[in-house]
């Protein structure tokens, strides 16, 4: 059997497997691809996850197919042990492989960069949902709702500077309005992960980490800490609510009244806090 026949057979097997796999991904997996469509950020992440799956699965199958084919077809038969034929380079195959993989990487880089640079509340993009540091690469237009996420061992609290700086234990957001999260910590390093919203931003003491999203559906979403932060890290879990605009107005008004005694003692709103005592004694 010559090498051309082997290559033809392996390519046929690979193409069939790749088509079947991509059809399964497209019709069965894609509709359930996490994190879903609860916000524009999550939708974009889901779309990119689908693109990655559709492109990378054939590549992975190609490697596995040729590997398995070689193991089966070119195995040493029982009996005498002798050297195989000498290997020679194939310039066309090498250039093809480098060219295809380079193209794939560049395309994915362009897709990711466009996603990062698009305005967070534009129809075209969402700003990726990750923490962008204190100076965000892309800014939304209009008047986003600012929510400060304050991490501490071991609970998140939330501050709303546009509503008198009130702080709350629970997180509520209005549907359809862009949210500008300012994530920080007052002790160790944590990570604010609002899973269904597609938002994940590190909470670092003395740092302001900005992330954007626009909730598109009402309901509950999970909030977890995604950075190992001590004894009760695993318990640093809660649920947030996306409410109607009227429901949010009612909720924040109630929060302002209920938390008024504590609000009186809160420090002036700032993007970072350096609470004392830094080192407790006794």
């Amino acid at each position: 059997m010559d090498s051309r026949t082997d290559i033809t057979r392996a390519v046929i097997v690979w193409v069939v497997l790749a088509i079947v796999a991509d059809l399964l991904i497209g019709f069965l997996l894609a509709p359930h691809m996490p994190p879903g469509h609860f916000s524009n950020t999550a939708s974009d992440q889901t779309e990119i996850n689908n693109i990655l799956a559709l492109i990378l699965t054939p590549i992975g199958l190609g490697v596995v197919t040729f590997f398995v084919y070689a193991l089966v077809s070119f195995r040493q038969p029982a009996g005498a042990i002798e050297d195989g034929p000498p290997l020679r380079g194939d310039r066309r195959l090498q250039l093809g492989w480098v060219g295809v993989t380079t193209t794939v990487v560049i395309v994915l880089a362009i897709v990711g960069t466009i996603e990062l640079l698009q305005a967070p509340n534009s129809q075209a993009g969402s700003g990726a949902g990750g923490g962008q540091g204190a100076s965000a690469i892309s800014h939304p237009s209009g008047n986003p709702l600012q929510v400060q996420v304050i991490a501490q061992q071991w609970q998140f609290t939330y501050r709303y500077p546009q509503y008198g700086g009130v702080e709350t234990f629970s997180l509520a957001l209005p549907v359809g309005r862009t949210v500008e999260f300012h994530v920080t910590s007052i002790d160790a390093i944590h990570s604010f992960w609002a899973y269904q919203l597609g938002v994940k931003a590190d909470a670092v003491p003395g740092a302001d980490n900005v992330a954007f999203t626009t909730p598109e559906h009402m309901g509950l979403f999970e909030v977890r800490c995604a950075e190992l932060c001590g004894l009760w890290h695993g318990y640093m879990y809660s649920r947030g609510h996306v409410l109607s605009s009227a429901g949010f107005s009612k909720w924040i008004a109630h929060a302002q009244i209920a938390n008024a005694p504590a609000t009186h003692y809160l420090p002036k709103y700032a993007h970072v806090y350096y609470p004392l005592p830094l080192q407790r004694g006794g």
Binding site: Q152, Q153, D187, A188, Y265, P277, G282
Partner: protein, 204 residues
């Protein structure tokens, strides 16, 4: 096999290192829990660690932070607070929350919010939305407690509040003040060890 043995050794070591579960007496739907917070336990293995102690059904002090209370009942907590003022890292926690009537008492007087600078600890059960700041004694208070169990004749505040337990479950509780003296930012040692400033409420 070695890995399995190491994992088993770790799990068994963790379980037997937990403090005992202390059931709390209940009558007419109300469970009384009496605890004390002390600046230093005063005994081995960590005599200088800040800690909680709890009274058992016989009225004896037990060094444990795992307490068992009935479901769907009211828990009436009395805290004898012997530790000094160190301040809340987050002043938001100066307001009692998740407690019956939205208030606590300090030496018999109702209090809606505590000056964050005067706090010594908090008693917080995040799952149940319960968070209560505990007022600390003044630095120059006379007759301060050094060795547990502290007595009523020593400087302290008596803090009371009530909360509802709800359905059965296991809930962690903790102090939110970085109160571990000598540890970086006050968050090591007793703040990271069940039996000292962290524990469980077993609602059964």
């Amino acid at each position: 096999m070695i890995v399995i043995l190491l994992v088993a050794w770790y799990v068994v070591g963790y379980v037997i290192s937990l403090p005992p579960t202390v059931p709390q007496a209940s009558a007419a739907g109300v469970t009384n829990v009496t605890v004390q917070t002390v600046a230093s336990y005063g005994r081995p293995p960590h005599p200088d660690w800040v800690s909680y102690l709890v009274k058992n059904e016989s009225g004896q002090w037990v060094h444990s932070t795992i307490w068992k209370v009935p479901a769907n009942s009211i828990v009436r907590v009395t805290v004898l607070q012997y530790d000094g003022q160190s301040g809340l890292r987050n002043p938001f926690l100066g307001q009692p929350r998740g407690v019956v009537g939205g208030t606590m008492t300090v030496n018999g007087k109702p209090l809606k919010v505590l000056n964050p600078d005067e706090a010594s600890h908090t008693f917080t059960i995040p799952d149940l939305g319960v968070s209560v700041p505990l007022k600390g004694i003044a630095d120059d208070a006379p007759n301060q407690c050094a060795v547990t169990p502290c007595t009523l004749g020593q400087a302290h505040y008596t803090i009371t509040f009530e909360f509802r337990t709800g359905k059965p479950g296991l809930h962690r509780w903790q102090c939110f003040v970085p109160c571990a003296a000598g540890w970086l930012y006050g968050f090591g040692g007793p703040m990271q060890t069940v039996g000292w400033m962290d524990g469980f409420i077993k609602v059964v």
